[in-house]
């Protein structure tokens, strides 16, 4: 007895002593306010950081205290520091401890807050909390249940969702509307992380739309609208319910959600648009809430563009919004107008003045949006005005937007093979202006455009030279300043154009002087090279055409000038520049020395050059290659070697009886081992090969290390041997995997099914969506309400789809279509079931194909046999039903037989065919 009591007292003593200790820590513990004040008192980042680290150390000692109060304060402090960016993963176990404190909601709340803030997918203690959350979700205290729901809504992982979704779901039946509402919203998060959960909850969720409590209805609408955004089509059947709610709703918050859902649904169902005209136009007329009005407008421009009347009404509202002083409203109005560009460009064009004004707005969002509209509005008639306007805006725009403007001008003009441009000389002047836009980053683009136009539009070449010459002469463009960032790219093109079309140059001396300007060396090497080349062209073109005329003083002067100015180029570090300049210098020397020997001789030489250089470069269509016929002798489909052919046949053609010993061996092996198809599917083979190769390499290496002395002489042969071995081992499937004649046959067989598979799949869904698009809506709307995850993606991934895998960042929730077995609307008809899983067409191995073939053959044989039997039986006057039975039996028998027996029957059937 005494010993027992002493034990008991000892036991009692321990906690007491620790309580004493904890009480002391509690007494000396800094409370939250103290800590925050102290942290704020620290000046300077360094000292503050040090202080916080000290605080964290204190917290670490305090948090292990068995006293709940101390622990809670410590955790609260840690949570505060967490917000400041300090890790609190180390405390996660204590967080769970505090979450499970049941004596006081206060501590629980602290625990839950810490969990909500700090737990993530990578927190390991999340494994510990399902039961805790389960208990709290079912707690009779609504505050606790609310805490658990909020927390779950933030930290839910796929595992948590899987375990707890049923508990959240059951809260939908709670008598407290507050909890019903929260549970409803939380469910959406659970679906996101564990999509399987949507299937069983869906019906109840839709029931929530008829809840007595408005806030629950609103929550249900919210969740369903979010789900509908993922895959609107599945939610079309809910449209009547939504419609009813829309006409009765009194809360703007909910009306907005409803209008948004309809925005996603109307592009899919044109009748809906008709029906919505009434309520929406009423809202547009009566509402004073801008947000609701904007939502209505979005829905109208998104999917109801066929309803002219309401589009008109919406655009009228947009006009008011455009005039609004609030930049947000202005921006949103422009944003909405972009959707109308495709279908109602005229209506948008009515607001042109306003939109042009927005291009120069101080807000970049507005600018970009307005620019987008301007780009979409340009027509042949307005091109010049618009361009002039945009060029005008460039001067005042910021750097980034200015680049965007340059890009826009060029792209508006070049789009559709210059469809809008009627006057190319005008376009050249525009481009010439664009070259001079300071600090533009599109010099290269402008240069390309210049060359493109000069090459393709013959008539503008003379004007081009005249327009571009001033740019070449402009020394300031050659300076390497930030303002001339990409000007060299354009100058390169200009120099090339002037050189190429030097026949139009009037003042050769001036151009030559500009081309050989010493500051040309500031340009990048490739541009310098073009300059030097152009020098020759321009000089050659300066020679008069009459033969044997002595060189004029002008020509000699030019020649001397070139020689003089070329000096720095001849010492250039860049090979191309150096080579070309030396070449040019030599040519000129040659000419002048020849001229010195006999008058007119130098001119003759230069004229030869000019003749050679005057040949025109023609633009080549990118499709030109196709027009070149392949020579008849080029046998692309002929096998490379007959020897190889035999090899491939022997290894592949299983029907081939006289395949040789090896072939037979292989076949017997193949027929014996059951998973032959598994073994030979492309992926496995690859892996196998890789593994085998690796092993072989390893073996070789170890062998070499051991027996290095033997490898001295016949290193290569040893390797070869090994390789040979390895090949025999590993390459057998390899050879089988890609035999050439077999492949072509295969292509023939299953080209449609295999090669174009991804296309078909994509198209399948795309086309159905496009059908909708083309029938009922404009392209803009389709873009806007394109489902986040296209159904085809969903289907494609289903085979390996793991609903438990956490969604990656940016990855959206799989649509409802992820559930292959369930279709709540299967009775609705409508052809393509959203839940149908397309058959995954695997890349069939030829052994499989062979089998199929055999099956076909068998079937044929059977048919033939059947026919024969029928004839016989008919002749005998037997009952047809008996015949059927008999054939069924036959089938069964056949099925039950082993593969070997199968082969026998197969041979037999073959024989019967023959």
């Amino acid at each position: 007895m005494s010993s027992m009591s002493s034990l008991g007292s000892q036991r009692r003593l321990k906690p007491e002593s620790s309580m004493m200790g904890s009480a002391s820590t509690y007494m000396f513990q800094k409370n939250l306010k103290d800590m925050i004040t102290a942290i704020r008192a620290q000046k300077g980042d360094g000292s503050q950081k040090n202080f916080i680290n000290k605080c964290l150390q204190d917290i670490r000692t305090e948090i292990v205290s068995p006293d709940v109060r101390t622990k809670a304060v410590a955790l609260e402090k840690a949570t505060y520091l967490h917000t400041l960016g300090f890790n609190m993963n180390w405390a996660s176990f204590h967080v769970v401890e505090l979450m499970s404190v049941s004596v006081n909601v206060k501590y629980k709340r602290v625990g839950y807050l810490a969990a909500t803030q700090s737990f993530g997918d990578d927190t390991d203690v999340v494994l510990l909390i399902p039961n805790l959350l389960k208990k709290d979700l079912a707690s009779p205290n609504p505050a606790e249940a609310a805490l658990a729901i909020s927390c779950l809504g933030n930290i839910v992982t796929p595992e948590l969702s899987q375990t707890l979704v049923a508990d959240v779901y059951s809260l939908l039946n709670n008598h407290k509307p507050d909890l019903r509402r929260r549970a409803c919203l939380c469910l959406y998060k659970c679906f996101l992380r564990y999509p399987e959960a949507l299937r069983p909850s869906f019906a109840r969720l839709t029931e929530c739309l008829e809840d007595d409590d408005q806030s629950v209805v609103q929550a249900a609408v919210t969740v369903l609208s979010e789900l509908a955004m993922h895959n609107p089509k599945t939610y079309l059947p809910l449209a009547p319910k939504f419609y009813k709610l829309l006409t009765t709703s009194s809360s703007n918050w909910m009306t907005i959600k409803l209008v948004k859902v309809f925005g996603a649904l109307t592009p899919l169902e044109p009748r809906l648009a008709k029906k919505l005209v009434g309520p929406l136009s009423e809202i547009l007329e009566t509402t004073s809430a801008k947000s609701l009005m904007y939502e209505c407008i979005r829905t109208v421009v998104g999917g109801m563009t066929t309803q002219e009347k309401i589009v008109r009404q919406a655009v009228d509202k947009l006009k008011d919004m455009l005039d609004d002083q609030d930049p947000n409203i202005k921006y949103l109005a422009l944003h909405a107008l972009t959707f109308l560009l495709e279908t109602h460009p005229r209506i948008v064009a009515e607001h042109k003045g306003n939109i042009f004004g927005c291009v120069e707005h101080e807000d970049s969002n507005i600018q970009y949006c307005a620019l987008k509209i301007v780009r979409g509005l340009v027509t042949k008639k307005t091109l010049m005005d618009t361009t002039a306007h945009l060029m005008g805006a460039m001067g005042r725009a910021e750097q980034r937007f200015r680049d965007e403007l340059v890009w826009s001008v060029v792209h508006v003009c070049m789009n559709d093979r210059y469809a809008l441009v009627t006057d190319f000389v005008w376009y050249l002047t525009v481009l010439a202006d664009l070259v001079q836009v300071p600090a533009s980053c599109h010099g290269g683009l402008v240069g390309e455009q210049l060359i493109d136009i000069c090459l393709r539009v013959e008539v503008v070449r003379e004007s081009a030279v005249a327009i571009l010459k001033p740019l070449l002469l402009d020394g300031s463009l050659l300076e390497s300043t930030p303002a001339n960032k990409t000007v060299p790219e354009a100058l390169k093109s200009i120099a090339w154009i002037i050189g190429e079309y030097a026949c139009f140059v009037t003042d050769h001396a001036e151009v030559i002087k500009a081309l050989s300007n010493p500051s040309v060396t500031n340009l990048p090497a490739h541009a310098q090279a073009v300059y030097v080349q152009s020098l020759l062209k321009v000089y050659a073109s300066a020679i008069p055409e009459a033969k044997l005329v002595p060189m004029t003083a002008e020509l000699t002067a030019m020649c001397e000038m070139i020689q003089e100015n070329l000096k720095p180029f001849k010492n250039s570090l860049h090979l191309e520049v150096r080579e070309r300049s030396c070449q040019l210098s030599t040519i000129l020397e040659l000419a002048s020395s020849a001229e010195d020997a006999t008058l007119g001789r130098g001119t003759a030489i230069m004229e030869q050059f000019s003749l050679a250089l005057s040949e025109e470069i023609q633009p080549v269509s990118h499709r030109a290659q196709k027009k070149v016929e392949a020579p008849a002798a080029l046998g692309l489909s002929a096998p490379l070697s007959k020897e190889w052919d035999g090899l491939l046949l022997s290894s592949d053609d299983e029907d081939d009886e006289d395949g040789g010993a090896e072939g037979r061996k292989k076949r017997s092996k193949g027929s014996k081992s059951k998973p032959v198809t598994d073994l030979f599917t492309a992926r496995k083979t690859k892996e196998q090969i890789a593994r085998e190769e690796k092993d072989a390499r390893k073996m070789l290496k170890s062998h070499r290390e051991k027996q290095s002395m033997y490898y001295l002489g016949d290193d290569a042969s040893g390797e070869k041997k090994k390789k040979g071995k390895k090949n025999r081992k590993g390459a057998a499937p390899e050879v089988e995997a890609a035999p050439e004649p077999e492949l072509t046959e295969y292509m023939k067989q299953s080209y449609a099914g295999n090669a174009s598979r991804p296309v078909i799949k994509g198209e399948d869904d795309d086309s159905s969506e496009e059908e909708y698009a083309s029938e009922y809506q404009d392209a803009g709307a389709a873009a806007r309400y394109a489902p986040k995850v296209s159904a085809s993606d969903m289907h494609a991934g289903l085979g390996t789809y793991d609903p438990l895998a956490p969604l990656a960042r940016g990855e959206d929730m799989p649509t409802v279509e992820a559930y292959p077995t369930y279709d709540p609307y299967e009775n609705e008809g409508g052809g393509r079931s959203a839940f149908q899983v397309p058959e995954r067409r695997e890349r069939k191995h030829k052994s499989e194909r062979k089998k199929e073939k055999e099956k076909e053959k068998k079937a044929k044989a059977k048919k033939a046999a059947k026919k024969a039997a029928k004839k016989e039986k008919e002749a005998a006057g037997e009952d047809a039903s008996e015949d059927k039975k008999g054939s069924g039996k036959e089938k069964k028998e056949k099925k039950s037989k082993s593969s070997k027996a199968d082969k026998v029957t197969e041979k037999l059937s073959k024989a019967s065919i023959d």
Binding site: N104, R109, A143, G153, K260, S291, L332
Partner: protein
């Protein structure tokens, strides 16, 4: 849906942060850095909408504090602005003329209020009155529990 809510001062110091999508610690730090710098660099009088990666950041400035919500692309910007306003009004009602210091020293309360307004990244309660009542009820409950005037299941003794 709201992806995250961020409340930061003009100096870029985070006052409140709530993530409704699973961002790792590293991503959160990166997000905070990007979002604060992107928003703080915008002069006032511009639109309150900024594109950030594939999300829309919608922010509103109150005194020295920026309230930011990151939402899906198809969310209605104006309603998000109203949500922010809604939350601020609730804070104001609770603290009585709320200021930055209130949020610093009572950050946990601000979080509790945030949880009353948004659940799982969606607006859950639109009535300020109801939220005020719920929060005060909860506060009373906590106080009651402290005083020991509460039953085991948390039902306050005094409150019918």
């Amino acid at each position: 849906m709201i992806h995250f809510a961020l409340l930061f001062s003009r100096q870029g110091k985070v006052r409140l942060s709530k993530y409704y999508k699973p961002y790792s610690q590293k991503e959160r730090a990166k997000l905070v850095k990007e979002v604060t710098s992107q928003i703080l660099s915008r002069p006032s009088k511009l639109c309150n909408v900024v594109e950030h990666r594939n999300l829309k950041l919608i922010y509103k400035r109150y005194a020295s504090l920026y309230f930011t919500l990151a939402v899906d692309d198809e969310e209605n910007e104006l309603i998000v602005l109203e949500m922010i306003q809604h939350y601020v009004e609730i804070l104001d009602r609770y603290f009585g003329n709320v200021c930055e210091l209130d949020l610093i020293f009572n950050f946990h309360k601000a979080y509790y209020l945030l949880d009353e307004v948004f659940v799982a990244g969606e607006l859950q309660e639109t009535s300020k009155k109801l939220i005020a009542r719920l929060v005060s009820e909860q506060d009373a409950l906590v106080e009651a529990a402290k005083m020991g005037t509460v039953e085991q299941d948390g039902t306050p003794l005094q409150y019918p």
